[in-house]
Symmetry: C2
Subunit: 768 residues, 2 copies
């Protein structure tokens, strides 16, 4: 692994000592967010060293229309960029008129950062000697409020240690920002209005092209040794920048502190013409609370979240830190409060994967949110796709499909495809399967069938139509094939008969057919409504079934395994163990053609199918396929280790399961893939949760019954997790000596533990 500088701790991410080379990595790791907005852990004061500045607002993006010469028919008009938003955290600090800048200080010592995950705040402290010889101590703390999700607060305290000093704080708003990933330092924001009003400042700005209106705001309070001081404020204003300057003659060992409140209001939530007024109200409210009261609320909000979603591990502090880091960031990214938002692969921690929503949501995130929140949150995620069905149909039409066939976008902000690599946009179509699977998964877990007649069935029909039309009949093999696809393993492009894709296509058709029957039987008025709306005939359904019943699956008699795709065995089958380490990670060392012709697998592909459709295969079949494919898997996708961890646990290979667990849970903390500078891998963090709950805990739902097959890695004393199963909260605590089940509420719950029925009663510990 790449780095090992994060100090193991149960509840906090801690860095000690200032290392300029780690600044960008730490900016990612210490990111904070509250579902509505988020920001990298950039310093408040000016920093001239290497840094990646980023502050992001949920749902605010930019349509980049850069055209390339080899444009292809059906490409979307743009690809979406996550937009760096105006900076409101900035506080320039001067000591006797010299800028505080950790890059140019004579000396920096006692540097410490802490991301306190239990309470939801980020702090930093250090001592520095400036070029002018003044030595100071700095203590900062900041958080983005969960309670008031348009607001963040910063406390920044400076104490001169070796002399008196004039200290200047210049808190500012800056809308003159760009993106890291821009081609030509393009500007993406039009600044409409920069205003100041007493201590309050506002910048109203609009994104170019997409025309999202925002107002960024700030207000500060100043304290000397804890007593509020109103020092004179010199304002500075340019076309896209505003600052206030507060000066204070400070005695040696006195502490001058600023409390800065800031944030964004956006026109998704408010009338765009009233944003400045709304911002003012928000500021007034935040300031009237004050920093400490807001912080207290923050602690309470996070306590609520942890109460349900925490996983404890005793006996392995790195594993404990890893899982909490994952759960914490998932909750920072998405809280299920806004049905237009979703879970971007990098959350609010970077720009890469410009779009917001990938199949990651359905395949990885929904199980986490379904089990640790009210089931309405998972339903909201399903509805996100229902609301985009029309656009998915339009998207399919652009590719020549008809009659209501739907192809959900690979990457989207608002339902439109916003990615343009042909082998992904047009061919990584298995994503459509995950969207149908999520509906099945939701129903399996919650038993809430109402979603299907109300909304889900239309989605299932659109998807089934797509697969039906996408299949090719091969006279040669007398089977239906799916040609020219990219499977979950993106290290293969434009392949034929990807087993996973063919399998999920067949499954989608059968699941749609089954639900058409169920809705017809049990929800006749919905059936009539839907049939009128999307119109299908028996003949059409017979056509679907023909495709599902005659799907081709490549198979090797020699190895007794399904083949990832046609021709897989023609490759030079050198396992990863035998591949020179200097060649790894291959996605940074090899050109694309070399990757494509190699046998190496980026993330679970055939095994992804064995994960999702586990019940269709025996353990022996799983073992055979795991033994065949895992040795070729380089796990260079963050989504890879979790699935393998779950399967290794099922196969009783706990050592291997534990290795994969560490890799998924500490992927970013330990920077396995050498890219944490760019941001965190948010969606795969849900996979980490799965590898404990589904992997070690062996949790499944079988025939409406919650089942477990608990195992525990060597060295762990206990681990414990909670699951909200159909509004009953069950706590599972696994130790080397057995498993304890506990249930909240008034009703008993029957579960299966290692195949045996167990009844868990409220207020009683059941030990197995």
């Amino acid at each position: 692994m790449n780095q090992d500088y994060i100090i193991p701790n149960d509840w906090s991410i801690i860095e000690e000592g200032f290392n300029p080379e780690m600044v960008k990595s730490s900016e990612s790791l210490f990111s904070i967010g509250n579902g509505a907005m988020g920001q990298r852990a950039n310093f408040e004061e000016n920093y001239t060293g290497s840094t990646f500045q980023g502050s992001y607002i949920g749902g605010v993006y930019y349509p980049d229309k850069t055209r390339v010469g080899w444009w292809k028919n059906g490409y979307p008009e743009y690809f979406a960029k996550v937009l760096n938003a105006p900076n409101w955290i900035g506080i320039n600090v001067q000591i006797n008129d010299e800028n505080l800048d950790l890059h140019t200080c004579k000396e920096v010592s006692k540097f410490k950062r802490e991301l306190n995950m239990k309470e939801g705040w980020l702090s930093r402290s250090f001592e520095a000697v400036l070029q002018n010889g003044v030595k100071i101590n700095v203590e900062t703390k900041r958080f983005l409020s969960l309670e008031l999700d348009e607001v963040g607060a910063i406390k920044y305290a400076v104490t001169p240690l070796n002399s008196d000093a004039k200290i200047t704080f210049s808190p500012y708003l800056d809308a003159g920002i760009t993106n890291e990933d821009t081609n030509w330092d393009d500007q993406f924001w039009d600044v409409l209005e920069v205003t100041q009003n007493n201590q309050q400042s506002f910048i109203k700005a609009r994104t170019m092209k997409t025309h999202f209106y925002t107002c960024t705001f700030m207000e500060s309070r100043l304290f000397l040794d804890g007593n509020e001081v109103i020092t004179g404020c010199n304002n500075e204003k340019t076309a896209n920048y505003v600052s206030c300057n507060y000066q204070q003659e400070t005695k040696k060992n006195q502490t001058f502190t600023i409390h800065k409140f800031g944030g964004y209001v956006v026109d998704r939530d408010h009338n765009k013409d009233e944003l400045v007024k709304v911002a003012k109200d928000v500021l007034d409210k935040a300031v009237s609370f004050g920093f400490y009261a807001l912080l207290e609320t923050q602690k309470q909000s996070w306590a609520q979240i942890w109460k349900m979603s925490d996983i404890t591990i005793e006996g392995d502090v790195k594993a404990q830190q890893g899982i909490r880091f994952n759960i914490f960031h998932l909750n920072q990214t998405y809280l299920g409060t806004d049905s237009t938002l979703n879970i971007g692969p990098k959350g609010f921690t970077g720009e890469k994967y410009g779009g917001s929503t990938y199949w990651d949501t359905e395949a990885y995130c929904i199980p986490f949110y379904m089990a640790t929140k009210d089931q309405s949150v998972a339903r909201k995620l399903l509805e996100y796709r229902y609301n985009h069905l029309e656009k998915a149909i339009e998207n399919a039409e652009k590719l020549g499909f008809k009659n209501g066939a739907a192809l959900y976008p690979m990457v989207t902000m608002n339902g439109e495809e916003c990615h343009n690599e042909w082998e992904i946009t047009f061919e990584e179509i298995h994503r459509n399967g995950a969207i149908a699977f999520a509906i099945f998964n939701y129903h399996r877990f919650t038993n809430d069938y109402s979603y299907i007649p109300e909304k889900g069935l239309e989605v299932l029909i659109g998807i089934a139509r797509f697969w039906h039309q996408r299949a090719t009949f091969s006279t040669n093999k007398d089977k239906f094939m799916i040609l020219g696809v990219t499977g979950p393993n993106e290290y293969e492009n434009n392949i034929n008969n990807n087993w996973y894709t063919n399998y999920i296509a067949k499954w989608c058709i059968n699941y749609a057919l089954k639900n058409i029957e169920l809705v017809k039987t049990d929800h006749i008025s919905d059936y009539i409504r839907i049939k009128e709306k999307v119109y299908f005939t028996d003949d059409e359904l017979i056509g679907w079934k023909k495709v599902a019943d005659n799907m081709y699956f490549p198979y090797s008699e020699e190895h007794n395994v399904f083949l990832q795709q046609d021709g897989f065995l023609d490759k030079e089958l050198i396992t990863v163990a035998d591949l020179d380490k200097s060649q790894r990670p291959i996605n940074q060392k090899w050109s694309w053609d070399r990757i494509l012709r190699s046998p190496y697998i980026k993330q679970a592909d055939t095994l992804q199918g064995f994960y999702m459709f586990e019940d269709d295969f025996s353990t022996e079949e799983l073992e055979r396929h795991f033994d065949f494919y895992e040795p070729f898997t380089v796990h260079e996708s963050s989504l890879s280790p979790c699935v393998h961890s779950i399967q290794a646990a099922k196969l009783d290979r706990m050592e291997q399961a534990y290795t994969f667990y560490l890799r998924t849970s500490r992927l970013d903390l330990d920077d396995y893939n050498h890219e944490v500078e760019e941001g965190l891998h948010i969606t795969s963090m849900a996979g980490t949760w799965m590898s404990i709950v589904e992997g070690f805990g062996g949790m499944r739902v079988l025939n409406n019954t919650l089942t477990f097959a608990p195992k525990i890695p060597k060295g762990w004393q206990t681990y414990s997790f909670k699951v909200n199963f159909r509004n009953q909260i069950i706590t599972v605590s696994v130790s080397q000596n057995g498993t304890v089940f506990e249930i909240d509420g008034n009703n008993e719950l029957n579960i299966l533990v290692n195949g045996e029925k167990v009844t868990v009663s409220p207020n009683n510990l059941q030990t197995v």
Copy 2:
């Protein structure tokens, strides 16, 4: 076909009547060039209708660094753009202070354009009534001098027909131009100096990033009814524009004429600090010749070109016009005078295919230049690649190859790859084969073996090393395979075992091995020099041979044909004849994934191999493959019909051969592919030449003997072509009654005609 407005004529391209919708097409078709520069047939006077402005200088390009989010390792740093150069042809015309603009005139009549291919000039004439009621006659003529290849000349004459009128000519230079294909109206030129000096104007400018220095220049002479008049000249100058204004009160039916001389000098030929001085000398020389003398020289230069390269056809004026149009544009694009230049697919007629050199040069153009010019021209084209060998080795290194393996770029300006689509840049590697094949072809035709020990062998070794390393050993099939390629048929990407690629790879290795032996035997000092330079061992050569001897070729027992690639038979094999016409051309109607999973073939692929390696296969084998693949071929590449025409002729299917001939020779004139607006298909024009000489004439070289198998399409009375075979010029005239051979010079030439030996004596017609 799309358009039919070009008037059939033996020697000219003629358009009659003004149709604004055809302006962009005509701008392409009537383009002029002289090997060093070229321009679209834009109007001299201002035109506010739809137009595509273009003037291009050989070898002057721009490295576009637009990065896309999905950058891949090994991509070149830039892709090259052909650059629109400063405009020197512009002459604003005012009649009584009203701008002449065909888009806004009250009436335009008697509009005629003519591109006289025999003499190498473009003319235009029309009558127009302006909004102010003045009716004028306009006559223009312009050409780019072959003799002074930095200069062009324009004659522009205006005659008021219904009243006296004040006529103003404002010839100008304009460096404030952009490209059609730019993303954001980027500027690509830095203007360094705008100067005027008496009647002469100069703009010195430098391309951004590449820093090509150019000077664009002009000088004019004015005539009233043929007598020179010096009217006062008002100069106008801005930062990137300069014009002179000449006013003349002109009586009704008097003619006011301007002769404008202009052009470019570039720092490839001159010291960059002296460009303005050089331009002045060039202008002085051109003006001292005067328009008419320069025109006379132009006619003589073209007469020389036609003397050798003309093909006459009697009895089919459209066919005659087509072949001359092709030969004319090839000679406008490349004359073999500058070894740093090459033949861009659009020549000087448009921007698309930004780069200059593709495999088109080796596979299509070399045969034409080899047979119609001194053999030094073809050798110069081979040397172009020899000079780029080091960069081809660097290019291969970027993709992980080693030990001197060379991968020539798909597209290049200076030897570096300058294209970035992974499936092309990294995978359309068959281009490497064409470069080796051209060496073989040159030797076969010229018998000049000296090129191989001097230069060619190093290229052959670099290419053989590439194929050796690129092959994958498949344990499964116990054969070497080439996985993950794009063949000549670019409607398949990332396929395995493209038969053409595998075949040419094997051939390249064997040809390199053979020449290593030959050079060792006959050119021992070259052998020693080369071996020291590129170092190879017997073991290495044994490794090559093992790959060549054990290459895998996909084959269908059922159809008794080699398969274009693995899995071809799994497609839905609906022939083009059965494909709904509304779906054509598929590259404009279908998304890329649909194209890829279809069986449709863009251009000869397996058949390209049967064309290049014809001698390796029987006519029956050719017929079987032609009958299997042609029905799936959509010929949406300009390079497609010619190969099929040659093969149809060989198979005695003269009607089909003729159809393909028309399609290749009139591809642009009749705009088969609906894209002539973007420019002409220059490189495929050499294919047109081949389809007469190799197709109808059946010309080959077999065992050092020139052979023919003449055939003639129904309806043609005769056709005749010349070939420069080893410095003997043979004229072949085919009529329905037989073929006449004639030879220049003093020596007899033995040829084979339909397999029979014929001796052709100088000054005697041999009739067969």
